[in-house]
């Protein structure tokens, strides 16, 4: 089990950062992602694996229009 913004998401082997975002429906453009406090660049979302038990944060930088 991993946590994405404190929401519990089932983990599976080979899960990537992009998979986490997809699981939560996060497709907003201004997102900052950290995995266990380590920053991940957006071009690496599809290639960065997330370990079981990880604390994933997808901070949306948004303050409305």
């Amino acid at each position: 089990m991993i946590r994405v913004n404190e929401n519990e998401v089932p983990w599976r082997d080979g899960m990537t950062v992009q998979d986490c975002l997809d699981a939560m429906g996060y497709d907003f453009v201004h997102i900052t992602v950290t995995v266990d406090d380590v920053f991940v660049e957006s071009i690496r979302y599809r290639t960065t694996r997330v370990p079981d038990g990880a604390d994933v944060r997808a901070i949306h930088l948004y303050h409305g229009g």
Binding site: F28, T32, R46, I59, L61, H63, G64, G65
Partner: protein, 664 residues
Amino acid sequence: MAQMIDITINGKPVQVIQGSFLLGAVRSAGFDVPTLCHHKDLTPNGTCRLCLSEIELKGRKRLVTACNYPVREPLCVSTTAEPVVKHRKMLAQMYLGRWPNVPAIQNIAEQCGVTDGSRFKSELTEENPKACILCGHCTRACEEFTLERVLDFAGRGIKRHLTMAFGEPDSHCIGCTSCAYVCPTGAISVVDALNNPKDPVKIRNAGMRVNAEMATLDQSQCRMRDVGTANIVDVMNRYDLLPVHNYRFGSHEEAFKIDSKVLKSRFAQGAADGCWLGCSMACAKTVDHFELQTGPYKGHKVCVDGPEYETAAASSNMGCFDADFLFEFNFYCDTYGVDTISVGTCMAFVMEAFEAGVITEKHTGGLKLPFGACDEVLEILHQMARGEGFGVDVGKGIRWLKNKWAKEYGADADYLRDIGMELKGLEYSEYVSKESLAQQGGYALATKGPQHDEAWLIFMDMVNKQLPTFEDKAEALYYFPLWRTWFGLNGLCKLIWNDVVPADNSKKHKPQDAAKIPDHVRGYFEFFEGMTGTALDETRMLEQSARVYNFQRCISRMLGFGTRKDDIPPYRSMGPVTVEEYESRAERYDAQLKDQVGVDPTGKNTAEKVRLLRAFREGQYQKLVDVVYKRRGWTSNGVPKIERLKELGIDLPEIVEMVKNDQE
């Protein structure tokens, strides 16, 4: 999403994003090539030819300009191959021969190991060290930063020279000085003829950073130049935050009919427009040649100024998922001088009341007003303007309608209070705050009424979970209203604070700090400092705002408002009022009942669950208010304490008079 390509540069293996230009890869691999026409904030156009590099692709060698060569397949790059070095030397001689005294050129010559350009000396050689070297930075900056094209080249071949149209000063030039900013030789000089800012260079530099970001990042971020605030419709619908049917729901299957794709297809072609000539964000949009179907201008083809997000979301709130309706609605609200948000939210309230049978056709003058009644909405708008019919009532706003219907039609006042989305007499703006306690506070605790430009905390709270405790929320409800008030105090647009974000914002700052977009905040401070000569930091900025903010609160008290009871919002903004609403998000609400309220939802009927959840949430809200008032230095009833006024230096006798009877 981007694919990575493996290439080698001078033997070193490097990974690059497919489609990106070679020069970036060369530099990040630690190598360099001389460049002249390249500028990090402008699109490359490969005219100086200095960055020529040899690539080997599928066994074939050729020379390409690294600055604008898109890497699409694996290849080998050499920036030091013999032909490349040879040609660079010859090019450097050409430059030196034509502009021998320009430092940027001398630099290039040095980089290429060339000292003598005399073979290219001719009658066209310019001795001036500030000569124009035809690099084209200025023409591109004019186009990409400010979306003008005041400067361009004229003359073919060797006669090429920089000029404005017809060789005359162009009145479209607003003096943004982007051209001077990017000129490598100083050929373009700035003559200041301004309103005496203390440090114009500081202002320009801060502004140029923004221009450069807009030119390079906007397309892959919020697309303000492309679609403007319409891009927000898509986002809100995806995140279940788009008001639908008087804030009952956060998304709708027909929302695509008024999303940014549809709106973009109707916006005037290629016209990124600004509120003022020269704005580089240029997010204003218009729908041109729109033929009106109703009202006094029926049949006219007009230019509709917008729609912005709020207007589109208001349309959604009314259940009117129709682009043509949206444009007509936008136009007539503008023409009549009524706010689209107020009308939209008010109509949504009317529609829910109509569907619930609180009012009927008898009361509306025969108009049927369920959600989605587009034609009828327009009719009401026209009635409002003509001053006749049911429209006149609607024009008085939700507060007035609630009172009238309870008094004259015997409607349930509590029910109306729950679903009438207004506070302090102002209709709510178009975001669903139901699931974000912080945003409920953001709306309800604003002195002016539920306007989100005080605080927009929904993502921080709901999605990022960055405000877990009451104290966190209170801190946000302290900082953001003051920060956002500051824009208004200085007459500045806030969009360049966070509708474009520096590329390295996430890398440079921790997530909590990144949310404030520190580099852009600094930019605003630099603007202020450049104008006034007074240095600014976060503390001083907050003070500036807090003085006005608290003054406003005091005046509100003086007028008989400004206490806790005025800060309690309609329940629709906090949670599900009806069984239908609860059931549309049952899983979420059941989970909250279980985890946070400590009540097992199984076996309970929905009406009961609604009641239990409501009690919880209303209690949560009161707790929030306690903490916020404390943080703001107000009494438990929401009135500024005199010691706070003293702190801010606004404890003038007239102001103290307004609040002295409310002190604890």
